[in-house]
Subunit: 223 residues, 2 copies
């Protein structure tokens, strides 16, 4: 009867001020409060959050490793501003991770999460809630990748999508970008469900090619 408790072990290790600070900053960055390219002052933020500079620096390191922050020696940390080459690389990784996902026989349970994400996107689109479409779309691809059934790949995808969100924040027209993909997600889901992995993989490649071209085109970081 004590055996099942071991599953709760990870929850024990939680907290630590530095990690909580990192969580806060990660949220702020992903919601666009801190914009790409902006510098984050150690003094200002440590004062505002009421933590010491040392603790804040530990948080910075964490986010730097997630590629959300850019740490330049003696100049401070900046919210990362991905280059066009970064966008291209992100899509190369997506092709690998998502491509491998659709080729696998999907577990029933994982499929349900994907369906839910498709529905959410369609509902949000009907109400012109393009922010909502964006997050549902992200959930869709996260769930897609989870077909690989690998915690490490899930984690990598999480980071990748967080980085992509940085790109979206520099774009002006999210609707034009997200709109075409509501239907595509539905189609891709159908191909997966019907058990035609190669067809799904081909469709996905085209999907990602299209998205990447659209994104690179709409994206001209001011460097």
């Amino acid at each position: 009867m004590v055996a099942d408790l071991s599953q709760d072990r990870p929850r024990l290790g939680r907290s630590s001020t530095a990690e909580r600070v990192a969580d806060i900053l990660r949220d702020r960055i992903s919601e666009g409060f801190f914009q790409p390219g902006q510098r984050l002052s150690e003094e200002a933020i440590s004062d505002a959050l009421g933590v010491s500079r040392n603790t804040l620096r530990e948080a910075f390191r964490l986010l730097g490793h997630e590629r959300l922050l850019d740490h330049r020696l003696n100049r401070g940390v900046f919210v990362r501003l991905p280059s066009a080459a970064d966008v291209a690389d992100l899509y190369r990784v997506r092709r690998v991770l998502e491509g491998a996902a659709v080729r696998r026989a999907p577990a029933e349970e994982a499929l349900a999460v994907i369906k839910e994400a498709v529905l959410d996107a369609e509902r949000a689109a009907e109400q012109d809630d393009w922010q909502g479409v964006g997050t549902a779309n992200i959930r869709f691809h996260q769930a897609l990748v989870s077909l690989n059934d690998s915690p490490r790949i899930d984690e990598a995808m999480r980071q990748l999508l967080a980085e992509l969100r940085l790109v979206f924040h520099v774009m002006e027209n999210p609707r034009a970008f997200h709109e075409p993909f509501v239907d595509r997600n539905r189609t891709l889901l159908g191909l997966i469900e019907s058990g035609r992995p190669e067809k799904a993989a081909d469709y996905l490649d085209d999907y990602l090619d299209h998205a990447e071209r659209l994104l690179i085109h709409a994206y001209e970081p001011n460097r």
Copy 2:
């Protein structure tokens, strides 16, 4: 003529005590000087290296994110000791990354690096240098994955292999593990060169299945 200089840019950001400390520790861990499961005392190491505890902690954070160290709250950092589930996951990721690699039309230049790694492994095997075979084998797979042509995937593979090395350090007989793969690498290279990606992919899957089974079997971490 100034254009090519942009490639040297990363070298500018170099240094920072914390990163150099992380480099040292990473080397020590990968060579087995610090063994998996071992606790790393903040005081002892900061004294030995002549840096402050704060700086050392920043280094710890870096390596923790690379999954080489395990940071347990209020108990210190430990050299990571991967579980059997970790090994399984690592091989799931390998199947995805290496599988995608062999399906791509290989660039001539990248192929050369792979060939070199195969030759090095064969040379080392002839001299019964099984440590050498191990590192050549790692170089082989790193080069294989580089066919994906993605810096992020290269980086992920680097981390993955560093983590795998932790597993090797808990094994007793590296020769039995590495020996069969010298020939397999040669065969896989042949399949890639002859332009039969699907055949190569199948062979690779079998390759990785075999390696994983062998590893899990020889691996019983004392937990």
